[in-house]
Amino acid sequence: MSPPIRPGTVLWCMGDGALSGWERSSTARVIAPARPRKLAKVPFVELADGRLQGVVSSGSDISRVYVSSVTVGAFAYACSTNNNRPCGGTSSSYCNHIRALIDQAVLQYGAERVARYLKCDLGDTEADAFSLTQAMVGTHPMPGDSNAAATVFSRFLRHLAYLEFDATTAPLPEMQWFPPTRAVA
């Protein structure tokens, strides 16, 4: 049996011992699948465009969502509604939306992958949502550019559209290259 793989682990990070045959394998697992998580609060999170970014549902108004992001390296933060009104919680540091975003990103991708992507050095501290948030807040990050909100929101809509495509019963032989892994079990 293969050793258990933690969700979100990018598998080339593992020691060479675990990688025997990996470079000559057609079906090497490169990304572990997302871990199941509740989507009500944070329906969308992704590591893309040089940011950890996503969409957080408003606690008070069901038709409102917040678009939140943290940039790679500088950890600059932005949070506004989908109608481009700034979030009231970001006057000095990360608001609760951004904190929820980080929590859910860690659930979905695993803390190590998120930390590596954000270029957040945790030293010897074990990576989890709390240590990651603490480490970034500790650098006193500045508010970032909120112009990305429109892009993030349209990426969220593109993501939602994946539910709308038709299924097909014509075979896709290429999917043979994408076996599942037991990582999420």
Binding site: V10, W12, K38, Q176
Partner: protein, 474 residues
């Protein structure tokens, strides 16, 4: 039931560990090219040029020779155009096609099953208005080849997004769409390439070459070559997934109503998905589109009437041509019907070792779970078991496989050896035979663990649909 040692069906596992002539040489040429591609073909170094020429030499005696030699020369000089890249992808595909054939012949010897006859497919349809998006895909793949895995960055990789968006809505282009979407997600998660400690060279070159060939109009066509009528006896379910796509393939024996010989067929159903739909959510997404999933869970056969089929033995499933039949035990099917069921040939362009997934039945083995390796030993060399391919939403577990005494599986080959992917196992619990199937929850489940997974998945999709309803149409 026919015991394995009387009616055939005894698999010669000893043949699976014997050397295959020419295999190492063919794979060495593939590796040489893969190494050249990994470093990028913008300004190739002498070692890369040598790798390209090794690929060209390996197909020197074939009709591809002239085109591939020209392409390798141009690429070695850093001057390859998109057509040259297609030629190199074709040469690599031809080599792996020969590997597929040699391994397939070996599997045939080991199972002792008859080979089906090939039905010539009609010539590919005329390409429609899809040519532009195919050319856009080819252009992205060419950029990727110039950067190589070591030189790729987010800018290059994100070039796939508009191509995938254009491909996805068109069901006829789903093969290329699903491939590029999964490939680009892996590359994005691995960027920047310069910081990679090691690279899955064989895999990424496979995905690159297959995608390149699918940009040739008509290459992805797998047309209907006839229809079948008869009794369909399911053997088990194989699931494939990447973050934004899922496919389930049901392997089954078809007993034609006209009395002609039994044959192996597959029924497939696939769909794009958001990356947060996982586990039982995969079955939920596919369930409404193929009644066979429910029949599989219930342990039933299905009666097919004029179901369209391709030359490769793929049923083009439509619920209109199927109705539920009598209960049918997969292990009875595996013991009685499988040994004489004929296998359909693989389409020429699809020939690749990773395409080999041959239903087999083994029993009377000693299962052994070592530290990180599960094996079955049946009178001879051990057979490695790939339990990692069992889907997450399934009652079948690696632990159950390790305690089993009989197994229906798919024989596959990867990274230099054959492995058995379990589809179902039988074990003896308190002197009773108990069967566990990988696809048991395909049609739904009342199992406690399974039902919990179903609820989590239902909730996730409900949230996404609610959000989509509120936000998408504004």
């Amino acid at each position: 039931m026919v015991p394995a040692d009387e009616g055939g069906g005894l698999m010669r596992t000893d043949l699976l560990t014997e050397t295959v002539d020419g295999l190492d040489e063919a794979l060495a040429a593939v590796d040489a090219f893969d190494g050249a591609l990994a470093a990028g073909l913008l300004r190739p170094q002498p070692a890369q040029a040598a790798g390209l020429l090794e690929l060209a030499d390996a197909v020197a005696g074939t009709p591809l020779a002239a085109k591939v030699t020209e392409a390798a020369d141009k690429a070695a000089a850093g001057a390859a155009d998109e057509n040259h890249f297609v030629a190199l992808a074709a040469a690599r595909t031809a080599l792996l096609g020969s590997v597929h054939d040699a391994l397939g012949a070996r599997v045939e010897e080991a199972t002792g099953r008859p080979r089906g006859t090939h039905t010539q497919a009609d010539s590919p349809r005329e390409p429609g208005e899809q040519v532009n998006v195919l050319l856009a895909a080819r252009s992205w793949l060419s950029d990727l080849a110039r950067c190589g895995w070591q030189g790729m960055d987010h800018d290059v990789v994100s070039g796939a997004a508009p191509v995938v968006s254009a491909l996805l809505p068109e069901p006829g282009l789903r093969r290329l769409a699903a491939l590029l979407d999964g490939f680009a997600a892996e590359l994005a998660a691995s960027c920047p390439g310069a910081s990679l400690k090691s690279v899955p060279e064989r895999r990424w070159a496979d995905l690159w070459a297959r995608a390149m060939l699918l940009t040739v109009p008509g290459a992805a066509d797998a047309p209907e070559t006839g229809t079948v009528t008869g009794r369909l006896l399911p053997l088990g379910a194989d699931v494939q997934e990447h973050p934004t796509a899922v496919q389930a393939q049901i392997h089954a024996v078809l007993e034609p109503a006209d009395g002609s010989g039994a044959r192996l067929v597959r029924a497939s159903v696939s769909a794009p998905k958001p990356d947060t739909v996982v586990g039982a959510g995969l079955w939920q997404l596919l369930r409404p589109h193929m009644s066979l999933l429910e029949a599989l869970s219930e342990g039933r056969s299905m009666e097919l009437t004029d179901m369209p089929v391709t030359a490769e033995g793929d049923l083009l499933w439509s619920d209109d041509h199927a109705r539920k039949g009598e209960p049918a035990d997969a292990f009875a099917t595996a013991r009685v019907a499988l040994p004489t069921a004929a296998e359909a040939p693989t389409a020429p362009l699809d020939r690749h070792p990773s395409r080999l997934a041959v239903p087999v039945f083994v029993e009377g083995y000693a299962a052994q779970a070592a530290e990180d390796e599960l094996t079955f030993t049946i009178a001879g060399p051990e057979l490695h078991v790939d339990a990692d391919r069992i889907p997450a939403a399934s009652p079948l577990t690696p632990q159950a496989v390790a305690k089993s005494g009989a197994c229906i599986g798919l024989l596959r080959w990867d990274a230099g050896r054959f492995r058995l992917q379990p589809l179902a196992v039988e074990s003896t619990v308190r002197k009773k035979t108990v069967a566990l199937h990988a696809g048991a929850w395909a049609g739904g489940t009342t199992d406690k663990v399974g039902a919990k997974g179903e609820k989590t998945a239902t909730d996730a999709v409900k949230v996404l649909r609610e959000r989509a309803g509120r936000l998408l149409r504004k």
